[in-house]
Amino acid sequence: MSGQGACFHGVVKNLKCGACALRLERQLAGLDGVQKVVVNATTHRLRVDYAPDAIAETVLIDAAGHAGFPVQSAEAARDGQEPTLLIPLAVAGFGMANVMSFSVSVWAGFDMGPATRQAMHLASALVALGVTGFAGRVFFTPALKDLRQGRMSMDLPISLAILATLAASFLAPLGLAEEGYFDAVVSLIFLLLIGRVLDQKVRRQTLGAAGNLQALVVGRFARLAPDGRLVDVSAADLLCGDRILVRPGQTVPVDGRLRSTGGRIDRSLITGESDAVAVAVDDLILAGSKVLQQALEINVTAVGEAASVGQMAQMMRVFEDRKGRAQILADRFAATYAPMVIGGAIFGFALWFFVLDASLAEATMIAVAVLVVTCPCAAGLATPATVARATNQLLNRGVLVRSGRALEAFSRASHIVFDKTGTLTRPVQTVRRGLPTDVARAMTGLAANSAHPLSRALVGETRIDRITPAMEKPGEGLRGADGSALGSAEMFGLQVTGPITASFFKSKSGDLYEVPFMEVLSNDTTDTVCHFQRAGVHLHIQSGDRDDVVQTIADEIGITSAQGNVKPVAKADFIDGLRGSPDTIVAMVGDGINDAPALTAADVSVSFSDGSAISQDAADFIIIGESLAKLIPIFEVSRSCRRIIGQNLAFSTIYNLLSLPLALCGFITPFAAAILMASSSIAVMLNAQRIRS
């Protein structure tokens, strides 16, 4: 079996526990051609080594699906990006244990002669040097990097403390001082690393879970199956020769030839120029192009490496966004605080060395204690650790969080504005029998262009013979290239009254048909609305649907402020209008193209994974599936997140204020300072773990 091996990476759904992982492993390992299967129950990742000539990737995916664990192919987990801190931690722990054993024997003394003591100091020095050189790089490297760019980060005072203690300690083996501080050096590194390891663990979990959800949800495309049905597949599962429909706002995941007559794309991801480019039938569309206005039907010609470009870019944007804001805050904090810490240390040194006549070593130790004890590691961790934990909790509940700032904003939300169709209600298409078959066919062929809930309800599971190329006008409807149209009454200049939602379809021959929908409230709408009303949040409905329909729904669920016939831009204006005082924070929940301006205008916004790509781009939270009830965990988690950030910041401020004078007075040895600082960081991390949804 030494032929060409291939490797399949994927994300596994429904993995409840390790037992499930083993069951899946056994299932797959039983297949012919599979060489090795590893299912990681912690990260929900799957890796299969197999012989491609004996078994196809699709067979693997099917087999996993039959076993009850749908698998989504994904890029290999990118663990390698940031090396694990466990190894430096182990090295520092080893060093600390050894140096301690030497130090204790020196302290205990017994009959130790000067030569033996010297040997002990020397052994300590060797170990401490090795540990500092290896494990200390975790702090030195970023500190140096920041210094070169003219910035100060919190790694700088830590590095200075480590290096100053190490330098002062060398007085002992050189015979210039009675005692060394090698134990302080290594325990400082060890204890600091504990905090870093915990922090890294939470961040990895969060990133991993976010990556998994992204792979499962973002970048799903409508593929036209050979039998004419539209099937929802992920970009990674597309094959050459497939026909796919890329809707407005989506990024083309593959290279392909355009089948539909024409459209416009934005190639800025590939070329950097953001002008809209017109494309015509048979044109080559490159992966990474963003589709504007009109859905494109594409024949896939290349997948794989080329195909991943667009998706990668999309994913990167999501992560950069979240990291960006948290990082900026932390950097700004460090930039103002780090010089103060260093200033405090210099002051301490000067005070003891020049004024109080302490020895060089003693004064250095005071300075080191100040550096360590005032290092606001706890304060620096307070916000990121809590946000990471909250994000993690929400991810587990099926909510993608795209920025830490959004958590803060949602926790203060005083107004929530809902879109109606697709958010509060689900449309169910009731009357199709009235339509002649060919009209119904033409209508679904047009509706397939849109991700609007009404269009999705129309298409459902029906077969589509031909997709009519069409432009989608937000808030109105679709205009087909052949002259057919599908949309609201207003689009056709009709006046309709009554409490029922209806769309209209004009066939290319000009006949007009009414397409009534029944709207059912989503199961959890009433409960969710009640929850927020009890919490004192003002609720509003802004819908593009007819006003009488909107009022009926609003009465049913008990929302008093409801408005229909709202144009996309008017929704955004309504939100701006609400924002009178600084205490007013407006959240917007919607899924359509027509909600995009409002989602952007709101302080914080929520969209759905089944909604339009444009609304997802604009949203801060994306709810996986269509469950409105997930707004409740978003609200609760973001509120407890804000509360705990407040507690953590208060705690670390008090800790720093109390410890500084103690260190300046010489009551805290460097060793005690290291323990204090590490335990304050750990306290903050543990407090963050209290966030539960």
């Binding site: 390790g18 992982a21 083993l22 129950a41 912690t42 050894n98 130790m112 002669g113």
Partner: protein, 48 residues
């Protein structure tokens, strides 16, 4: 005290061995799935 000249290097070397084993375990990915491994201990050994 001459015993120290032997015992101290021996203890440091054995400690380094321990660290190296840990490094190998981490790189090999044996610590990457605590959730799955707690069930794997019940699995009968696979015979190659």
């Amino acid at each position: 005290m001459n015993a120290l000249l032997i015992l101290v290097p021996v203890s440091i070397l054995s400690g380094i061995c321990g660290v190296l084993i840990f490094v190998w375990l981490t790189r090999d990915g044996q610590l990457s799935d605590p959730e799955g491994n707690k069930y794997r201990i019940f699995e009968p050994d696979e015979l190659e």
